[in-house]
Symmetry: C2
């Protein structure tokens, strides 16, 4: 099994999009394409509390995340770990994610109150296992 | 729910890499980055019969597949459906997939016998449901 090396964290930090997989109630994986930011050894994804993937995570407490580089040989990382839905203290992370999507930081800066009004939450995955790590540049 | 339109099939046909998700025995999604080819409304992936994702599919009979375009706004398709492992009549599809990986068609052409000796199988997903289809060009 690959380890959570600096190269893996650097790859996850430098890329901004991936595929999150959660467990549907019937057990089939539910895959969604999302933007992410890295915070230490945590993957942070912005979503709304009524989205199916958020409900999956609240039910199961875990998720998988896959990131693939756009050019051959397609560097790639897949991680899994415990996951949870955060509703407070999420303004900074959400602002960083929105900045990656739009190219500019939100102005005025986001607040938890604004995000609560938009039903926005953070889906946080703590990296516990590196299921795959291939074709990464050594850092 | 999006439909399986010509644009969706064209996008899946034009892209060659994606993330397949199967169900591990403990229920957690198992994500793997793979090359694929499209055959009608089926996603074909080359793997070996002893790989965990092949065993997952033999146990559960279903899978999810996600494809993301490399450039913003990141066109994307996620499909799910019944899945199975094929051991015969797989030489043509495997040759097409190897050609996508290496850039040249295998020479001499592959045969089922050669592939059996390499334990290679095809993981086939029949597209039953389009879970997501965004930012596709109209065809």
């Amino acid at each position: 099994m690959p380890e959570l090396t600096r190269s893996v964290l650097q790859f996850l930090s430098e890329h901004d999009i991936g595929v999150v997989a959660t467990e549907r109630p019937d057990g089939l994986p539910r895959q969604t394409v999302v933007y992410h930011v890295l915070d230490g050894e945590k993957i942070l994804i912005s979503t709304t509390h009524d989205r199916a993937k958020a409900r999956d995570v609240e039910r199961t407490g875990r998720a998988s995340y896959a990131v693939v580089g756009p050019a051959k040989p397609h560097p790639q990382v897949v991680v899994t770990g415990p996951a949870r839905i955060l509703r407070e203290g999420i303004a900074d992370a959400t602002g960083r994610i929105f900045g990656r999507i739009t190219g500019t930081a939100p102005d005025p800066p986001l607040t938890d109150e604004m995000l609560a009004g938009m039903n926005r939450v953070i889906l946080e995955i703590t990296i516990e296992r590196v299921a795959a790590a291939s074709y990464l540049q050594e850092s």
